[in-house]
């Protein structure tokens, strides 16, 4: 079992892993100093959402080399499913102050949304992508854009083109005091839940039989198939997990912002995609890192009054990375095929 974690974030550069934690802490410290605690927590929260969505992009790319443009919309559908479950099925209208009830509701909300979105993701894979498995690379890409439109239009049909409010179950007033600033419990919950999911994913990929199958499938699909790995099942599980995480991000988004709309997936999807590229597409740890990085850039820009330029900076960074370092911060984990 000790052998498994050697490769969980494999990189062609042996020193990258040793330098990484130091770099992250240095960056976080700097960000905390520059931004102040309020904005720092905001950035972490936003980053957690980006990271959860980015993981889906990077996992799917890692395994079938498809940039799943529909993934941002899967996240959007997740936020609507969460809204629907929370307000219609559980009958919530706003904050719940009864702690056991709150915990129960949130747990049920997460479980149901993740489950529904996992199934939606698997369905999309089965119906839209699997028939094109052997087609030229462009075909599934176009299909992904088509799926994106379908999802947007279905949601628009049912819920209308306006912004929809989502019950914010965790009371916003609840907060703890950290060196003079009030940090909402909601933010802490969002960050903790997201980070827990990311760790669970990392463990799953590095320590389990199915995770191993996912890694080997992304390295050499045909050879894995000849070793007995069921490729179709493995790819579907990848979609299942990626979409489940997008569903979780949808829940988190609803709890945090209290609203959602049918075109949420486009912007956030692009940002999450950028995060995946910055971290090194195909690399799960990199996607999480990229998500947080982008959030810090955006929040940093608005903290200094250049909020409108946040997007521009993020996407300029994307271009810069694509030109000078296309493998991203941590390098693509399917790099050994090239």
């Amino acid at each position: 079992m000790a052998a498994a974690d050697v490769t969980s974030s494999s990189s062609s550069r042996p020193f990258a892993n040793a330098r990484l934690p130091f770099g992250i802490f240095a960056f976080l410290g700097l960000a905390l100093f520059v931004l102040g605690i309020d904005q720092f927590v905001n950035a972490l929260t936003l980053g957690a959402i980006y990271a959860l969505v980015a993981l889906g992009y990077t996992m799917v790319y890692g395994i079938i080399e498809l940039i799943n443009f529909a993934h941002g919309d899967v996240f959007m559908v997740g936020s609507f499913v969460a809204m629907f479950i929370s307000s219609s099925l559980l009958g919530n209208e706003g904050a719940i102050t009864n702690i056991p009830l709150l915990a129960g509701s949130v747990l049920v909300l997460f479980a149901l949304t993740i489950g529904v979105m996992a199934i939606v993701g698997a369905l999309i894979e089965r119906l839209a992508y699997r028939p094109l498995r052997r087609a030229p690379r462009l075909a599934p890409l176009i299909t992904a854009i088509g799926v994106s439109f379908i999802l947007q239009n279905v949601i628009q049909f049912f819920f209308g083109p306006t912004i929809v409010t989502v019950p914010q179950l965790v009371p916003i007033e609840w907060s703890i005091e950290v060196s003079g600033s009030r940090v909402p419990l909601l933010n802490i919950f969002v960050i903790a839940a997201s980070v827990a999911l990311m760790f669970a994913l990392q463990l799953f990929i590095s320590r389990t039989r199915t995770g191993r199958a996912m890694r080997t499938t992304s390295m050499d699909r045909d050879a894995s198939s000849l070793m007995g790995v069921d490729i179709n099942r493995t790819i579907m599980i990848t979609f299942l997990i990626g979409s489940g995480l997008a569903g979780a991000a949808g829940v988190v988004h609803g709890l945090y912002y209290g609203n959602t709309s049918f075109n949420l997936g486009f912007q956030s999807g692009l940002k999450a995609f950028t995060a995946a590229v910055l971290g090194g597409i195909g690399n799960t740890a990199g996607a999480a890192l990229g998500g947080f990085l982008i959030a810090f850039i955006e929040v940093g820009a608005s903290a200094f009054g250049y909020g409108r330029w946040g997007g521009a900076v993020v996407f300029s960074l994307l271009v810069i990375f694509l030109v000078f370092r296309p493998t991203g911060l941590l390098g693509s984990h399917s790099g050994d095929r090239a």
Partner: protein, 340 residues
């Protein structure tokens, strides 16, 4: 060859494989006796790699059948289109119902009904999908019982008892040697998705046992102590050994070796030959190999089959093959048959 268990390990009858108009393998009958080391040889372009790939399940034969251990290897995809239809069929009435609901009550007021009926409509499909993911063995049994054939996939061959190595080594280079072996054991590990998530005792025991066996296998191919080495860091010869260990990790009945001694120096070749013998003698695995190095082929094969232009031109004991005029002609060309 043992009469008790009867029949050859592999029997191919009338195997033909065409690529468009090109007949790569033409009507080949072929048997591998149980517990033997057999070889397929032939000049370049003789169709031996194609034949090998047909046996390995990469290409379906255009004609002919292949039996492994008396059981037909999953036949070519005759009913390939039927699996998805099976899944969709039961949902059609529900889809009609959903459309009715949506049209009758409109998008706005009929929201819940609409969503519910679409959900129900997808239920059959989703159910089958989830069953396939969570319990693939149950799913396979189910569709078998209903009588649906699905296209054979290469991974089915591993379940049937075939394992192979590759001519150009295809290890997972950024995994450790131990992990490479564990991938080979994939079909024998049963931890489902849920079991893996919660790390039940059963799963943990299974993993520990698998790791133990992986270490034994590494020792078997003389790679003990290299468990945590990345496959990419092994020297070429050792990578070949690791690939063989990965193949035998799936506990095959028949091991297919694609040029196991390619690119090896004489000493490594000798070790490889000894290893192949030990695989047969100690593990009881029947071995089939393609090999260009005649010393290797003649040295370890019990039986040799010679292909030329897609057809079988000779088969038999090494000694007979060596002196067979047809074989000499195929290798050296007409008129040179007296040479060698």
């Amino acid at each position: 060859m043992s009469a008790a268990k009867g029949g050859p390990m592999l029997r191919a009858r009338g195997v033909t494989r065409k690529f468009g108009g090109l007949v790569a393998v033409n009507n080949v009958d072929f048997e591998i006796p149980r517990g033997s080391i057999s070889a397929i040889i032939g000049p370049n372009g003789a169709g031996k790699t194609t034949f090998f790939n047909v046996i390995a399940g990469i290409y379906a034969p255009t004609e002919g059948t292949i039996e492994l251990d008396g059981k037909p290897l999953i036949s070519p995809p005759t009913g390939a289109g039927r699996e998805p239809i099976l899944l969709v069929l039961p949902t059609i009435p529900f889809i009609a119902l959903a459309i009715y609901f949506l049209m009758a009550v409109g998008g706005d007021t009929g929201l819940v009904e609409g969503v519910a009926s679409v959900a129900v409509a997808l239920l059959g499909f989703v159910g089958a999908l989830l069953l396939n993911i969570v319990r693939p063995d149950w799913y396979n049994r189910l569709i078998k019982r209903i009588g649906v054939t699905r296209p054979a996939r290469p991974n089915d061959m591993v379940v049937a008892g075939l394992a192979r190595t590759f001519q150009n080594i295809r290890l997972y280079k950024s995994l450790t040697t131990l992990e490479n072996i564990l991938v080979g054991m994939h079909v024998h590990l049963h931890a489902g998705l849920l079991g893996a998530l919660f790390k039940t005792r059963q799963v943990r025991e299974e993993e520990a046992a698998a790791e133990q066996r992986a270490r034994e296998l590494l020792a078997f191919v003389d790679l003990a102590g290299m468990e945590n080495e990345l496959a990419a860091n092994l020297p070429y010869g050792k990578q070949r050994l690791l690939e063989i260990a990965r193949a035998i990790a799936s506990r095959p009945k028949l091991l297919l070796l694609d040029e196991p001694a390619a690119g090896m120096n004489p000493k490594e070749t000798e070790e490889m030959t000894a290893l192949i013998r030990r695989i047969r003698d100690e593990l009881g695995i029947t071995v089939l190999l393609i090999e260009h190095d005649m010393r290797v082929v003649m040295g370890i094969s019990d039986y040799i089959t010679v292909l030329d232009h897609g057809e079988k031109i000779a088969e038999g004991l090494p000694k007979a093959i060596r002196t067979n005029p047809k074989v000499i002609e195929a290798y050296l060309g007409r008129g040179a048959a007296a040479g060698h």
